[in-house]
Subunit: 84 residues, 2 copies
């Protein structure tokens, strides 16, 4: 079975986010005064081939923890669904 | 009212995605043979203050189109929900 995976990678709370801070600082001068708490993370999408959803999740959690995130400074959230 | 917003920014189909290609090329040698079609985009989160959801959506669509994406090479998907 094929599964579609989306991994959202975010900075852990307290880790500096210069991209988000720069956007947040710029927006009021560009006419958007009501926007706050801007953070910029990554959205990684891929497809994985596995026997079933449990096997896919094991493989995805492993690759996310070992290669797609830096667990010292980043959190991740995984969405997994059968590929259409 | 405050709304939580997540904007996923992806490359349009056909636009080169060197980060995704590099990850995809590396994974088989790292022991993950079943992972394909890797793409790397951005996930931008923020909070917006607006009178109601329609007003929030107008403001968000405007800021996304003008400042948070390059519409020539990027697509975006917006999720908007009342902030908890």
């Amino acid at each position: 079975m094929r599964f579609s995976v989306q991994v959202e990678v975010r900075h852990k709370p307290g880790v500096a986010d210069p991209q988000g801070a720069t956007i947040e600082r710029a927006l009021p001068t560009l006419g958007f005064a009501g926007i706050q708490r801007v953070t910029v993370g990554k959205s990684i999408r891929f497809e994985v081939e596995a026997a079933d959803e449990a096997a896919a999740r094991v493989q995805v959690d492993d690759v996310v923890a070992r290669f797609l995130t830096n667990p010292v400074i980043e959190d991740s959230a995984v969405l997994l669904a059968p590929a259409s």
